[in-house]
Amino acid sequence: MKQVTVPVLAALAKVLSGATVRWIGCEPETCQRIYFANHTSHLDALVLWASLPKNIRNLTRPVAAVDYWQSGPVRRYMATVFNVLLIDRKKIKVHNSPIDMMLREIGDVNSLIVFPEGSRNLSGKMGEFKSGLFHLAKKRPDLELMPVYIDNLNRVMPKGEFLPVPLLSCISIGAPIWLESGESKAEFLQRARKSVLKMKDS
């Protein structure tokens, strides 16, 4: 069943978003990566995941909130199709850190799609990054952190809308960054945020 639904849904997501994918200063590869992107629409995770080449897509899991993806049978089914790694936003504790869970889940094979802004913003401006990306980078310095800028998808399906307007969107994936030695959390998060913004104009 999944052999059919996955390509069909991926194709649908691509047609609906008219997404062009640009790899700037990097190539699609199957090595372990964290794709971190700006978050403006429910479709972000889906479209970014769908626009990766098939062999990479199969290894990549979007990280998303359990309260959204577990509400209703359609979303729950979608979550299994896209192999979403669900995080419970309400139960984040020190001993139940989502970072550890993510690292446990990906092992030494999978890649992740994360949205460090945490939630979708309405203003159209990119918010500040939450610290999760920093902890991921610190605990697994071997992971390639890929900045991704998703353009125009907020117009395809803005927050609070359920009918998509299939405008053309653009996904720009940039050269990987790593945590520099001695770099503070704030510095790193600022740099990561700028690397995403840089993709907007390149």
Partner: protein, 375 residues
């Protein structure tokens, strides 16, 4: 499955055989072949020149030329396949192109969140509706549904959404996009609906025109292509006086007028050699002249929009897309004018200008007699 396809193909063949069977129908096929062969030849010439490093032609110009020819060839092949399949397939093809062009247009014009639902209705409501109306040949509705009903719906829906910032600007953008990409373009598909009459000079009277309207549609598309290519060549070879450098640095008056005159000649030649339209040879020349001027106006208008938005080619805003809007802007502007002129002069019922003259004369006479009675 294959059986079914074969049967359909055979049926289509029989159908085309009967409609193209005798007389002028085969002229359409002739025109199609001529256009395809000449585009193929242009493509081959362009590719050969590209491989010759010693040629003195600017490689940028050559690349642009090759790109244009390739996209025109794609359009023609798609159109020919659609025409061979069925009338409704052709109309659906135009509908799809409209949808895609509107999608590109809205992508490059900034809209606000409050426009979301309006855009949804414009893309999924009015666009298909327009082509359904063309498909069922409802002339009265398809000529007014967008300029009247959609034009009223769009501002009202935006107002109901509650966002008043830059209200008129946003409304105008969506209306314009819908008008150009959907309404105007649909007139080229509507050419298939026309029932035409032909002036028989020997008998001195109008007679029903027996040929299929596919030829008329293909004549129109071919003339727009010829005009585009000629405009490009005239600009590069003889262009001196740029029309509006701020809008488009390459379009010149020489190009506009030269292309219009040459296109007119091409129109006459096509009509004389392959009579696919009900026009006389000078009528075809006149139509080609108008088409060429409208096509140039279309490219100029789109250039102005692009300049304003700061996009050089609409397509590169979102890289990788061919830029459908770039290729059809000239068709969009020429289609409604060509449609209405054709309908005015050669429609089977109206029989053209002489009726208008007759009616005007009658009106003036009535007016005169009323006036004299009053005096």
């Amino acid at each position: 499955m294959i059986d079914a396809t074969l049967t359909t193909l055979l049926a289509v063949q029989n159908e085309t055989a009967s409609s193209f069977g005798e007389g002028p129908g085969s002229w359409t096929i002739g025109l199609v072949l001529v256009v395809l062969v000449s585009l193929g030849a242009l493509l081959a010439a362009g590719q050969t020149l590209k491989r010759k490093p010693e040629s003195h032609i600017d490689p940028a110009i050559l690349r642009n030329f090759n790109k244009r020819v390739t996209s025109w060839l794609t359009i023609c092949v798609m159109l020919v396949i659609a025409l061979m399949l069925h009338r409704s397939v052709t109309i659906a093809l135009f509908g799809f192109v409209s949808f895609w062009a509107l999608r590109e247009f809205i992508t490059m014009t900034p809209t606000r969140r409050g426009d979301h639902r309006t855009l949804f209705w414009v893309l999924f409501g009015f666009t298909p509706l327009q082509y359904v109306l063309v498909g069922i040949d409802n002339y009265d509705l398809f000529t007014i549904v967008i300029p009247v009903y959609a034009s009223l719906f769009i501002p009202a829906r935006i107002a109901f959404a509650g966002d008043h910032k830059r209200f008129l600007e946003r409304t105008a953008k969506i209306q314009f996009g819908l008008l150009i990409c959907v309404y105007s373009l649909s007139h080229s598909a509507a050419l298939l609906n026309l029932k035409l009459a032909k002036w028989n000079a020997d008998e001195g009277e109008w007679e029903a025109w027996q040929n299929d309207t596919y030829g008329l549609l293909f004549f129109f598309i071919a003339i727009v292509q010829v005009s585009d290519i000629l405009h490009f060549l005239w600009d590069r070879l003889f262009g001196r006086h740029v029309i509006a450098p701020a809008v488009n640095a390459t379009k010149t008056w020489e190009g506009l007028l030269g292309a219009a005159c040459c296109t007119s000649l091409v129109g006459m030649v096509i009509q004389v050699v392959l009579p696919v339209t009900p026009f006389t040879w000078w009528g075809a020349g006149f139509m080609a002249l108008i088409i060429s001027i409208m096509a140039s106006s279309g490219s100029m208008t789109m250039s102005a929009i692009k300049r304003d938005r700061g996009v050089k080619e609409h397509g590169t805003l979102v890289l990788g897309h061919a830029g459908v809007l770039d290729r059809i802007d000239s068709i969009c502007f020429a289609a409604p004018i060509f449609f209405h002129l054709t309908r005015f002069f050669t429609d089977a019922e109206r029989k053209g200008i002489e009726v208008v003259v007759e009616q005007s004369v009658a009106a003036v006479t009535t007016g005169m007699s009323c006036f004299s009675a009053m005096v």
